[in-house]
């Protein structure tokens, strides 16, 4: 696959981020039905499926360069957004191997990996990188292997160690998160880090079942799920650390700007069992699409309206939408003609309205 990259866009201050029409249509819309409730919505991560975002092991799109630059900025401000506990070194190399091999296979025009025994050469053309290093020797890279490679992929990543019939989040690169802190959560078990999620998810057994499923996750059989929330402005770094910076945005939504300001934030989450370490790599690939862009797809605007209108209040509160949800629902209500929608997340069109 070949991608036309945008010159670096911004995800803060000036917010020059914009989606091309093709990019809107490849958005992994997260709602297969007109209503939403937490479930164990996990499926095999195989190529194909309802959205082009499922076509690659790690999806790269037109915002690649801009997102990598944004990550670089966040790390400059706060290097601890990338941390891996010392016992996860084998998992770091596993991650580097998986990501490099996948990118080189899925996007040969942009990435090349060549190997002479343990001496590997990595070429990243969009970012202009050319690196020769020895696999297994961290001192031959400019930073740790996990940081090195996750600086070159869109989306956050965490590493889970499996022990005592549980998973522990023992490392990560977390710069584009929906309001959770790696520095605070690192070392927690599956139920601990999911502690703040509303009780309805716990009570329905979502986390008990998801954990059992993940403990059995097999090497070579990755899985994925879609998760969502909403963000004001196309801002990637909505960390708790910077809540005082982005929190006030939530008060700026008005009936006039709601469609441009409010973004549906979707995470394409992928889970891979890693070979040497037996750890699980969790990819959290974030996609932002404004309500006005979503409204250009008839099925999506109808469905988003219905989902938000009927959303369980605990979920709305947890996702921080309380202040502005009525404005979004009112805006979308005017665009919902009540027509039935088809099952699944596909846009059911290849042309945008408007």
């Amino acid at each position: 696959m070949t991608v036309q990259f945008k010159p670096a866009e911004t995800f803060r201050d000036t917010f020059t981020y914009k989606k091309s029409p093709e990019d809107i249509l490849r958005f992994p819309f997260p709602f297969p039905e007109d209503e939403y409730m937490y479930s164990v919505n996990i499926e095999p991560h195989v190529k194909g499926g309802a959205t082009p975002a499922f076509q690659a092991v790690f999806d790269i799109d037109e915002h690649y360069v801009g997102e990598c630059r944004e990550r670089e900025r966040v790390l400059k401000e706060d290097p601890k957004r990338c941390q891996v506990l010392p016992h996860m070194m084998a998992a770091q190399w596993d991650t580097l191997e998986l990501i490099m091999e996948s990118l080189a296979a899925d996007y040969p025009a942009h990435f090349t990996l060549s190997k002479a025994g343990d001496v590997w050469t990595w070429v990243n053309r969009p970012l202009g990188l050319h690196q020769t290093f020895t696999f297994g020797k961290p001192e031959t890279l400019p930073c740790t292997p996990f940081e090195y490679i996750t600086r070159q992929v869109q989306g956050d990543f965490t590493l889970q160690d499996q022990r005592e019939d549980n998973l522990f989040v023992d490392g990560g690169m977390v710069t584009t998160q929906a309001d959770w802190s790696l520095e605070f959560n690192i070392g927690m078990s599956f139920h601990e880090w999911h502690g703040p999620v509303p009780g309805v998810a716990h009570d329905r057994g979502v986390f008990d079942r998801a954990l059992k499923y993940l403990l059995r996750l097999q090497y070579g059989q990755p899985v994925r799920r879609l998760n969502w929330t909403m963000t004001i402005n196309p801002r990637l770094d909505t960390s708790p650390e910077n809540y005082p910076v982005w929190g006030p945005d939530r008060t700026t939504v008005t009936a006039d700007n709601v469609a441009e300001k409010v973004h549906l934030r979707v995470e394409l989450q992928t889970l891979f069992r890693l070979p040497r370490s037996n750890a699980i790599l969790f990819g959290i690939r974030c996609y932002l699409t404004s309500v006005s862009d979503i409204a250009r797809v008839p099925k999506w605007r109808r469905r988003l309206h219905r989902v938000l209108r009927d959303l369980h209040p605990d979920l709305a509160e947890y996702k921080g939408m309380t202040r502005y949800r009525p404005l979004v629902v009112a805006h979308l209500a005017a665009l919902d003609d009540g027509a039935p929608t088809s099952r699944g997340i596909a846009p059911d069109t290849d042309r945008l309205d408007g």
Binding site: S181, F184, G187, G195, P196, G199, E241, Y243, P244
Partner: protein, 195 residues
Amino acid sequence: MSDQGIKSRPAYGKITGDPAARHALLVVEGAGLPDELMAEGVDPSAFETWTVAHASTVPGAPVMDEAAGAVRPFRSARQLFSALEERLARETMGLRLCAAGTEPFLWDVFNIGAVAGLTRQEMQFAQMGPQARRIFCVHCRTVSEGITASIVTCAGCGASLFVRDHFSKRLAAFMAVQIDAEVPGEVPPSEEIYR
């Protein structure tokens, strides 16, 4: 006490011990044995016990054996911690580490145990004493001790912090988040709830 419904907040029980243990060490943040924290039928003399006297002269003639039934007093929690690090470094498999005390004490013990290689299965915790919290300001990383109110001013960055129930065992602290980040100045009244 209020419950925010956050499942990372630790739940505590009584000290039951583990019949499979080769040896059990019980560390107590107080001068006496926590009889009320022992599960029914569990005999405190099955443990080697370390206590904190909070006194510069510890009671004389302590039993210093590393054996069940021995009681060894320390002057302070810090002194106990440094002895614990030294002890665990030369321990062998089969040890269980139990702790009774305030929440910050328990999770400090947990981290010393974890550094020494103990897993969660090999440690047990019972809470006693004041409920005051240690908090971690997620914005500036300042750790504050002895927090009894629902909303406090951060000693590091001055933010008005809401104390969440989200707990990190590694930091041995609760998360604190600016309450008025969205509308600066909109701070609800604070309540004394962690006592």
